[in-house]
């Protein structure tokens, strides 16, 4: 109970500090009361967002890796290194072992909601003290990035 209280207080703090979102993004955020259906129903391992199930193929899809690498270099590399070094955001080494693929793709494509509501994402925000920017990556592009991460983690 104490722990729950702590989390709620923390949520309240974050919500009150964050600037108001435009109306279109407000669906699902429900203030500080404990009847937050989105957060309560969120799958802690898959994250929050439109990505529900990802099929991973072996061997890796080489076309996706090429596209994913290009997106990484344009939109992600400024903050995420490929090793385990944290710069602005965490290094990517091992990310596909720590996280469900759905969680990774939801984090990329639905970052504002994830940072506001997903407990795992919020832990990272506390750690990095920098909100991950929404880089407007489509779900299809996020899937390509995921494939590139898998390769980075040594999958074949």
């Amino acid at each position: 109970m104490k722990k729950l209280f702590f989390i709620l207080t923390l949520s309240a703090l974050f919500i009150s500090c964050a600037p108001d979102k435009p109306l279109e993004n407000q669906e699902g955020t429900s203030g500080t009361n404990n009847k937050n259906p989105v957060a309560a129903n969120a799958n802690p391992t898959k994250g929050i967002g439109e990505v529900k199930n990802v099929t991973l193929n072996t061997p890796l899809e080489q076309e996706r890796i090429g596209r994913g690498k290009a997106i990484y270099e344009m939109k992600c590399q400024a903050c995420h290194k490929l090793n385990d070094q944290r710069v602005v955001g965490p290094g990517w080494a091992g990310v596909t072992k720590r996280r469900e693929p759905e969680w990774i793709m939801n984090m990329i494509t639905n970052v504002d909601i994830m940072l506001d509501q997903d407990p795992e994402a919020r832990k990272l925000l506390e750690l990095c003290l920098m909100r991950m920017p929404n880089q407007n990556v489509s779900v299809g592009d996020a899937r390509d990035v995921l494939e590139y991460m898998r390769q980075n983690d040594g999958e074949k």
Partner: protein, 660 residues
Amino acid sequence: MNIDRFLFGIAGVILAFSFAGCKPQAPESAAIGDAASRVYVAPGKYDEFYNIVSGGFNGQLSVYGIPSGRLIKILPVFSVFPENGYGYSEETKPMLNTSHGFVPWDDLHHVAISTTKGEHDGRWVFANGNNTPRVARVSLRSFRTEEILEIPNSGGNHSSPFITENTEYVIAGTRFSIPMNNEDVAISSFKENFKGSISFIKVDPQSGHMSIAFQLRTPGFNFDLSRAGKGPSHGWFFFSTYNTEQAYTLLEVNASQKDKDFIMAVNWKKAEEYIAQGKGKIERSKYAHNIYSEKTHSASSTILDEVKVLDITEFPEIVYFIPCPKSPHGTDVDPTGEYIVGSGKLAATMPVFSFTKMQNAIANKEFEGDFAGIPVIKYESVLHGEVQKPGLGPLHTEFDEKGNAYTSMFVSSEIVKWNLKTLEILDRIPTYYSIGHLSVMGGPTSKPHGKYMVAYNKITKDRYLPTGPELAQSAQLYDISGDKMRLLLDFPTVGEPHYAEAFPAALIQANSVKFYKIEENEHPYAAKGEGQTKVERKGNQVHVWMTAIRSHLTPDNIEGVNVGDDVYFHVTNLEQDWDVPHGFAIKGANNAEILIMPGETQTLKWKATTSGVIPYYCTDFCSALHQEMSGYIRISPAGSRTPLKFSTGVIEGENTGAGN
């Protein structure tokens, strides 16, 4: 009834009349009733209308919300804007190029919102530069100036940028007549050598790109304002003229000799026919055409050197003159296209002309004579009627959706509401003070929205807290939904607004550009990702491909630059979200800062003038670690051989800083 109260009341009425009679009312005369709630837009809510307002001598446009009167944006058009680098960044400098070279200022007088079938379509704003004659096109998606076209053979572009019903043409009519082709002649040879010119600028319906289709060469007098016909009068354009006396000195007196000047009616479809027949002659004249590309995030400037000219004295049936009392200013066409209101700024009556009558008069040749061979139609033959004693100094007329007209009266500081058909005066209301233009929501279109009207006043005096000799410009919002006009709000404006147009916010709200896609950035110096950042030397030029993302600049350590080098910081903002611009400033820059929108690349040129280590930083508060978003460039003495190197996040030795 209590007699004291009655007497007091009478005294009050007398007092009110005496005040109204001899000087404008005191500032405390306020709005009444529920005015406050009518203009209150609650926090987080939006205004109902966009009001696009000219900035006059600031060379900018400003955007206000109506009914709140809140200033939402200032956007530079003809003037440099150090706040965001417009006219200072390498990419935007060409926008202000002209045949006279770089001209960093102009006097932006009027706006015209693009229309389709006579109604606002919310695509572009056109604006005129009055001083060094230019017309600009501004996007209502990005709220940026996308194109500027210089106008050749013009002595000041005042009668502009009025547009035809479907934005076929934007007009640029010369304010001052001048000798054509930069001819060196005596000023006293005005009647012989000075000519007027009216440019018809074709607008590409898809891209909006402007080009001068043809120029009408006219007798030498001054063109003031103009309006296109609508509906039945589509195909015609009406210009107010003054100085038909052709005076060239003390115009105040010498251009006010005649009882009547002219409204010049132009049949531009007829002019198009002549052009299609290959008529007209090509004249040589240099003028600049500047276009900004959203793909390369850069402007290009091209100098053009010819224009097609039709002399109206040589081609019949293009132009007819309508006599109009005393130096007309406004020539405004009502929503139906039938009535043309002439506002003789020194006249006691206001003539309203009928398009139908004009057509009949032309067909029946009801002319009273000619001017330089051009028929002058009999005044009575074109006249629908005169508004009697409308007020002093009528300037401009706008219209509502109910057949009413609203005319601004500069000298008597009031707005007069009258009926277009009966010409009867319905109401009058004071303005504070000396109103110039006025703007009804959708007022110049074929379907006005009415509801609100804004007065743009020329004199401010006591309306706001005093701020020294120069005061805020005063605008006033009126409710025109009922029979009587009601003052709702005073709000200050920037520059000196000459004209404004307003349209419902819903027309464009959803179209706003939020960011530029980094994938589509075709800037030659874009770094689309940190992997593409680099520094290259070309002679004494050093080019830096830099990226910005919350919250670091890459590279943030640069060495190997010498005193005397020109450093070009090409900064690409890697963000891909709305409302995350980054800025870039460096100590000692002789120009300005640059603001870089998400996905965009902009370049600041900086000359290294002293050796040392110079900081640079992000100027737009972007994140909790914005204060950390900075870098150093090391400048070595001229001729040094310090190796060129650049990095971000590289710690060279244990004792050099950062880390443990």
